[in-house]
Symmetry: C2
Subunit: 364 residues, 2 copies
Amino acid sequence: TANKRLLVLPGDGIGPEVMREVRRVIDWMDRRRHVSFALEEGLVGGAALEAQGSPCPDVTVERALAADAVLFGSVGGPKWDSLPFDKRPELGILRLRKELGLFANLRPALVLEPLVDASSLKPDVVRGLDLMIVRESTGGIYFGEPRGVETMPNGKRRGVDTEVYTEDEIARVARVAFELARKRTGKMTSVEKANVMQSGRLWRAVVSEIGAAEFPDVQLSHMYADNCAMQLCLRPKQFDVILASNIFGDLLSDLAAAATGSLGMLPSATLGAPDASGRRHALYEPIHGSAPDIAGKGIANPCAQLLSFAMLLRWSFGMEEDAAMIEAAVEKVLAGGLRTADIMGPGTARVGTSVMGDAILREL
Amino acid sequence: TANKRLLVLPGDGIGPEVMREVRRVIDWMDRRRHVSFALEEGLVGGAALEAQGSPCPDVTVERALAADAVLFGSVGGPKWDSLPFDKRPELGILRLRKELGLFANLRPALVLEPLVDASSLKPDVVRGLDLMIVRESTGGIYFGEPRGVETMPNGKRRGVDTEVYTEDEIARVARVAFELARKRTGKMTSVEKANVMQSGRLWRAVVSEIGAAEFPDVQLSHMYADNCAMQLCLRPKQFDVILASNIFGDLLSDLAAAATGSLGMLPSATLGAPDASGRRHALYEPIHGSAPDIAGKGIANPCAQLLSFAMLLRWSFGMEEDAAMIEAAVEKVLAGGLRTADIMGPGTARVGTSVMGDAILREL
Ligand SMILES: CC(C)[C@H](C(=O)O)[C@@H](O)C(=O)O
Ligand SMILES: CC(C)[C@H](C(=O)O)[C@@H](O)C(=O)O
């Protein structure tokens, strides 16, 4: 079954080193479980900019379009921080989302029992936390027109962005969230600022309509984005699935991740619409960035990248068993007391990237 | 000195009951410290809607314009939740901000030693926390045009909001933040999404220019809004002054408030530009909402409203000594172990709104 076309894009910073550990797991799957992937590796971010003059070269987009799934590392670094907009490494991920139509960004925030103490929140507040943020990721203020910085007649500058959502854009991402809620605890919270924003008013109306018409079994509630930020800090366990726009989802998903205290553990998936044959574009990436401060030191946590690969197996290849096996291996290694520096706690042993990888492979 | 024109707008929910405790302090100041205010009371929010047909009647705006300072309670409640946009109680505060030109919303997040344990964050993470968020409050996506929900030629709906900032709008609120940073620890973090938003790009540029030209002594750094949300949860004490747009400031200031764990304690000030004589419009309000679930039960915490009044004395009337006296009285009462329900902890005594007010008056 070698028609699992997988594009691997390690990117910048710690991307390549954590991806190396995933490659070892892929090799192991090939040898031991006779699963083989048609694997290609490509360039993105600063790495692509230096080699090919663009943070997201056309060849990378073409390969991503041809692949069944993309495993993305991370992009960016101080080296490229002062470049103009269209050269910045972040464009790598933004362009891929847009060109592949990856409109639903799934961001789980999960606290594994061995890591309860890693959180800055009290243990009781986060123990057992397991929520999923569904963030719209090809619309809203990230792409809306008009946008730009212009000079007004009086000679002063003015910066403009447009938050715009059509009802179809809202409906399709809402359906992804509702489906997930149905499979989980049946509870969903839709977030906006309907008290201030017009697009928020439409967001609330459309989500309510879809809910009533197609998901009457899901318990839907609405919350303002400022209150949601507050509640994620006060009582994160009240949530199951949270649905939000691109920009609110950006802040809220990072906040939820921070609440877990284990950023180096969290994967994400970004999905497109299924075509007639059920095939959908999808990209998987850890939520940690390129972490330039620790890149090349061999101390980065490979778990988030590996768990992103597990999400990929589950969502893109239907390999639930293999996904669960990888997740269980990671959890066992943590329960055994091994930790990379980012998730260290009292009574645990600090190891580097590859020793962590070794231990996970041994578990497998 | 009876020319301290003060407009009191209790509003809805717990607004009137916590305002009652402030009125007692005002009476005490009159009797004991011979400070008298020319005090008027007005209607806003649902209360104004019911009495006068608008959540922010013209007469309220006129009185606010004529006053030296406005002490605002809180607005809103489930009763008015399904009203159309232009009738909603929230319009009360939005219209006042706009008509009075209150562009700088100051939101302190402070953890008093007796309340360290009230936070959902670990004591070490929040002990001694003392930061100030300066939120732009008359611009951005809250007011930008075009905005609205329209029907497209294909019959589908589309919601639009516009995030727009001119360099003057950015500069004036940045100056407020820089001034504050200068008086505090000299550190300021400006927040935007310059990696994604054009207005964010301008925001970063203008703040950098003002900083370099006028506040070279302030240590300025820039942070993306998603990262700031994360950092407020992970290590809130890294911040001193945070500067943000209206919408990012909305989320981040509520998050910072949640991090303190004592929402019922936090005041805020919203300031306009000083005129030639140095007089500026200003409105002070607790950050907690109208809390309809506990309204009328006599259990609401009056501290935030009272501390808002202390901010008013400091910022609008230059009465530093009286402001500090009120703040000290509140802190002493808490140190003595009295708590309203919202900030209860082990070993403390639960009291209602008026007993808390009594205790503070006794301290004074
Ligand atoms: C890198 C950046 C453009 C991106 C975003 O804002 O979407 C990131 O923060 C994310 O959440 O994936
Ligand atoms: C009530 C609402 C319109 C308001 C806002 O979004 O500005 C509130 O959340 C605030 O922060 O004062």
